[in-house]
Symmetry: C2
Subunit: 117 residues, 2 copies
């Protein structure tokens, strides 16, 4: 008996949520933007200098597509682009807070930074 193909993109809601925040840098980007609007280069500085432009652009585009992040382009040279959270994006903050707390509590020894300063 054959297993039928999936009708939906996701089987379980948890899958869907993790897909949206599951990129390597996505949760950090969202978490960083919770304080307010930031420019592209500021995100690089705040999140992690190790991130490449290609990856940050890619993940920001996906976050935008999923409606978590707003992108505002200023028509000027050199370019200026600002990113901020949408309502939908903000609704993830409490969850990210808990993910952060759980990590600190249970895996603290393997982690460089803490949740808040």
């Amino acid at each position: 008996m054959k297993i039928p193909p999936k009708k939906y993109k996701y089987s379980w809601p948890i899958e869907a949520t993790l897909d949206v925040i599951g990129g390597k840098w996505k949760p950090l980007v969202i978490y960083t933007l919770k304080e307010g609007t930031l420019r592209f280069s500021q995100i690089v500085d705040k999140v992690e200098p190790r991130i490449t432009q290609r990856m940050l652009t890619k993940e920001l585009r996906e976050l935008e597509k999923d409606g978590l992040v707003k992108r505002k382009v200023y028509a000027q040279v050199p370019p200026k682009v600002e990113y901020s959270l949408t309502k939908k994006g903000e609704s993830l903050i409490p969850i990210l807070d808990e993910l952060c707390d759980w990590g600190s509590e249970h895996m603290g020894d393997d982690i460089e930074f803490t949740c808040e300063e």
Copy 2:
């Protein structure tokens, strides 16, 4: 100026948490075990028939290593192995609940099943 190598396994606590629950089937396995102890084959049935033995074994081993799941082997033929959550594993349930709720609320149209029945 060179970026120094990482001293810790993770930079941010969120990373650490997502690494622990981030496998394809891990959150579902944890979520399924929250009702109580289950045998290997029962997990397959409950989580998703699409999962392969290899993958389920692999993820269960990792969950065990991370201290989220207990494994109890009965010395009998045919084998019987029971899995259950540890305290640490149980501590993730509230977070998974929220991940589930968020998914239902914001991505409902792309999802086959709901959080609870």
